[in-house]
């Protein structure tokens, strides 16, 4: 009886000391692993931030269309978040592996003192929970704080007026974040417990002494691998540039796979190749600590090439995704202005019906046109019998050759311009003018206008009447209905058969949301002649496009920034753990009389090279990637995205630099601490 109570007291004391031990270890770790905590916190923060978009305070002020769009965004984020959590989970496992590796000796001492493995696992599990709770709390706090800022951005994008300041908070996102990260930490814990239970005491005690054996590859192997990698990368670049992103088929996948293989080969052979090159230049090789730095990198790159390749690929995705997200955003922004010249455009939903008095038919169908619209204009497209290939000849892009080119009379065109409040044009008999909304055709069209190319329509020879291409949309439509439209002299146009008709109108001033609601019940059927008329509303297009744009932007930014953090953190952790491996080497250098400045410079070069090499290749990759994406964007309109891409690149580089300097400072202090100790 007394014995058992003694035992339980004993185990109680043991429990307490375990707790205390883990807590102290964590406190120690906070100092050592700033980068680890930083990354965990940022991960939690981003996760919350992008999942908290549907917060109540924000949704309140939105119209129904906007709420639908936000709902869509939230659903998209939910899917993306699963992916992101897997990525972050991998990063945390990776970081954790280093944490455990660095402390193997400490665990060995616990074991030597007779602490059972189960207890050590317990200490580690407790530590993981402390770290998890701490980073979760701080990350969530940061996330809630930053989401105030993000909500302002969102409200501006959706043009919502904030009547008063409200704290934006999403309980769903909070629960979700906690749940996801709890699962991640649970996995980490299981992983840690397994690592410890698999460990042999002798390995733990001697962990410090085990050095990686330096494997050197033969020079010719390095050279061949290096050239091979360049070849593979070149092929991948050529394939993706040729095929673009128009079709995501086998060749796209193949070029991505080739790119990854090429990257791995590149890093596998690079350090050996570099070593030989530098070694052959004695002036560089035998200067200061160059030799030492090079060997340091060589000794690790041989085994670390895989992780560097992964970092490089992640950086590539981060840069490309972030840059194009911002570029895409501006491209679509330009598009939405262009495609909504009127409040509403009506058109027949029956394909056989092409003409009629649409305004009267709508009134018959019960629409109070006078109450809603300030002014309306109806116009018809005429069949010209000309294709884009016929108009442009060999200047026409092959894929667009068969596009039909419709015509419109100059009188109707001017009426529409009056409605839009834009300048009218004059056109003499025997002349034509060109409207094109697609930037990729403009060079070719410019040339035919300059050359005065004639075109035969309705048995009449026409020459260009205006030198410039017109680029005003004629209707409010989702996307553009016609690639190229010809403006024709009135008599000629009226003699041609009607292809299709539209009625465009501008709202009266007032409650436009109410007008939208009045027109929501499309299609409208005229009881008089059975004509069925559909409508496209400017607001509908605007919000759909804005929503898609914002959702696209957020998803891409989310992924891009997470990738960036993962890549930078992986590099930073690797460097920090390496710094502690290098402490002995630096201590020796110091004994040999190397001064602190020279040692710091050597640490700087090492960290810089590690950060620079994957970044350099990633930038080359990204240039190709961004080029390909820009090609695709050009089809949407003319995005002036170069500046945006530079901005994005700047943001990415800034994050990277912060991690770089944090790592450099961390490595320096690790080496210095150990040296003075």
């Amino acid at each position: 009886m007394a014995g058992s109570s003694m035992l339980s007291r004993c185990s109680g004391v043991m429990q307490m000391s375990l707790c205390k031990l883990s807590f102290q270890n964590v406190r120690k770790s906070i100092k050592d692993y700033t980068v680890y905590f930083l990354t965990l916190m940022l991960g939690v923060c981003l996760f919350y931030l992008f999942n908290a978009l549907d917060s109540q305070a924000l949704v309140q002020g939105m119209s129904e269309i906007q709420q639908d769009i936000v709902q869509m965004m939230v659903e998209m984020m939910a899917v993306i978040s699963v992916f992101i959590s897997v990525v972050l989970g991998c990063l945390i496992l990776y970081a954790n592996r280093y944490l455990v590796k660095r402390r193997k000796k400490e665990f060995g001492i616990y074991m030597l003192l007779g602490m059972p493995k189960r207890k050590i696992s317990g200490v580690l599990a407790l530590e993981t929970s402390f770290i998890g709770l701490f980073s979760l709390a701080v990350g969530l706090a940061l996330g809630v704080f930053l989401s105030q800022g993000l909500s302002i951005v969102v409200s501006q994008l959706f043009k919502i007026q904030y009547s008063e300041f409200q704290v934006v908070f999403s309980p769903q996102a909070l629960v979700k974040t906690i749940l996801y990260f709890a699962v991640i930490f649970l996995v980490v814990m299981v992983f840690n417990v397994r690592t410890i239970s698999k460990c042999k005491l002798i390995d733990l005690i001697q962990a410090e002494r085990k050095n990686e054996q330096v494997k050197t590859r033969r020079l010719w192997v390095c050279v061949i691998l290096f050239l091979l990698s360049l070849g593979v990368l070149g092929t991948a670049y050529a394939m993706i540039i040729k095929n673009g992103l128009q079709t995501l088929d086998g060749s796209f996948t193949l070029s991505i796979v080739l790119g990854i293989v090429g990257t791995i080969l590149f890093f596998m052979s690079l350090s050996g190749f570099l070593l030989r090159v530098v070694k052959s230049n004695r002036k560089l090789y035998l200067k200061n600590l160059n030799m030492f730095v090079l060997r340091q990198i060589n000794s690790k790159v041989n085994t670390a090439f895989l992780s560097i390749s992964i970092v490089c690929v992640l950086l590539f995705f981060a840069i490309t995704i972030t840059s194009t997200a911002i570029g895409f955003n501006s491209a679509m922004n330009a598009d939405v202005e262009q495609s909504t010249p009127y409040s509403a455009t009506f058109g027949y939903t029956q394909s056989e019906r092409v003409d009629g008095d649409m305004r009267q038919e709508l009134i018959d169908a019960g629409i109070d046109m006078d109450a809603i619209f300030e002014a309306t204009e109806q116009y018809s497209y005429r069949e010209t019998g000309v294709t884009l290939g016929g108009l442009m000849g060999n200047l026409c892009p092959q894929k667009s050759e068969d596009h039909i080119v419709n015509g419109i009379s100059v009188e109707r065109y001017n009426a529409l311009m009056r409605l839009q409040g834009k300048p009218e044009i004059s056109l003499a008999d025997g002349e034509y003018a060109v409207i094109s909304l697609f930037a990729y055709l403009n060079d070719g069209l410019d040339e035919i206008l300059q050359n005065g190319r004639t075109v035969e329509i309705g048995g009449q020879e026409l020459r260009p009447g205006k030198q410039q291409i017109l680029n005003t949309a004629l209707e409010t439509a989702m996307g553009t209905n016609n690639t190229v439209v010809l403006i024709l002299p009135q008599t000629l146009a009226e003699s041609l058969p009607v292809a299709d008709s539209f009625l465009c109108g501008q709202y009266r001033a007032g409650d436009t949301d109410a007008f939208d609601d009045m027109l929501a019940a499309e299609p409208f059927v005229s009881p008089a002649n059975g004509a069925s008329i559909g409508v496209t509303l400017a607001n509908e297009i605007y919000w759909t496009q804005t929503g898609t744009r914002v959702a696209f932007l957020f998803v891409l930014l989310y992924i891009g920034v997470v990738f960036m953090i993962v890549a930078a953190a992986a590099l930073a952790l690797q460097q920090l753990s390496e710094a502690s491996d290098n402490v002995g080497r630096y201590a020796l250098l110091s004994k040999l009389g190397v001064d602190r400045k020279m040692i710091n410079r050597s640490i700087f070069s090492q960290v810089a090279i590690y950060f620079l090499i994957p970044m350099a290749l990633a930038i080359v990759h990204s240039c190709v990637g961004i080029y390909v994406v820009l090609q695709m964007l050009n089809a949407f309109g003319e995005p002036n995205s170069f500046l945006h891409i530079l901005t994005a690149g700047g943001i990415i580089l800034a994050i990277y630099l912060v991690y770089f300097f944090a790592t450099y400072a961390g490595c320096k202090s690790t080496v210095r601490q150990q040296r003075t100790a």
């Binding site: 050095n211 030799m291 004994k591 040999l592 009389g593």
Partner: protein, 255 residues
């Protein structure tokens, strides 16, 4: 022959106020060029403190240490580091070669940090490697070398800068007897063939017997001094043991 090292009235105290430990208590001696001097004493006798002060890693409380006529106790910061680089060579307990560098690079490192000309470095490395008979292993990494090869590489690194004084702190402390003998023979060779001036600290009579002159230190003071003269190493070893017994005996009397 000129005087390389001159220690004058050196003192080193640890602690403060009432509790002062005199680690080195007024020691004076000098070492001439080309000498091979051993410093012996039991743990805590102050011999390592003495060596640390000479090697400029530690500072003295009082007295002067002149190396080649220069008072090293007056040097500070960068000057000190440069002095250490240029005038001193070290032989450490466990070779202390950088495991990431080849033998060639380990030896060359001592010169590259002095900023010597690359061609000169290359020539000197090959020259010292020939003298120490390690030319064939220059491209090997430490883990590919035998213990003896590692020692000779470490010795080559110590001598290549042509230092005024080579300091060895318990060089055989971590070695088995065979490796210890090999290392001591290498150090002896540095002294005899390459005319290096060596100051070695040890508590081991066998190790000390390789030196030409031995200073015995006890409680921070010089207790005795013996010269090898024309004796064989075995005879010298016997004399060292006699002194050590005397030292020990004295301690027993106190106890």
């Amino acid at each position: 022959m000129s005087t390389i090292l001159q220690v004058q009235g050196m003192q080193k105290y640890y602690g403060s106020r009432g509790v002062v430990t005199k680690a080195v208590d007024n020691i004076s001696f000098s070492v001439e060029e080309g000498e091979y001097v051993g410093i012996m004493g039991v743990s805590g006798s102050g011999k390592t403190t003495l060596l640390n002060c000479i090697s400029t890693i530690d500072t003295v409380t009082a007295g002067t240490i002149r190396i080649k006529g220069k008072d090293v106790t007056a040097l500070k910061g960068k000057e000190l580091e440069r002095f250490r680089r240029e005038e001193l060579g070290f032989i450490f307990q466990d070779f202390n070669l950088l495991d990431t560098l080849t033998a060639y690079e380990n030896i060359a490192l001592a010169l590259t940090i002095l900023g010597e000309k690359p061609d000169e470095i290359h020539r000197k490395v090959l020259e010292v490697a020939t003298k120490l008979n390690i030319s064939s292993i220059l491209s090997k990494f430490p883990y590919q070398m035998s213990g003896g090869e590692k020692q000779r590489t470490a010795s080559a690194r110590a001598i290549i800068t042509n230092p005024s004084l080579i300091l060895a702190d318990e060089p055989t402390g971590a070695l088995d007897s065979k490796s210890a003998r090999m290392l001591l023979e290498t150090i002896g060779m540095l002294n005899e063939q390459m005319k290096a001036t060596i100051l070695m600290v040890t508590h081991d009579a066998f190790t000390a017997s390789y030196a030409k002159r031995i200073l015995f230190i006890k409680d921070g003071r010089i207790f005795n001094e013996i010269l090898r003269g024309e004796d064989t190493r075995k005879e010298f070893f016997g004399r060292i043991i006699d002194v050590v017994t005397l030292l020990g005996g004295d301690a027993n009397v106190v106890m």
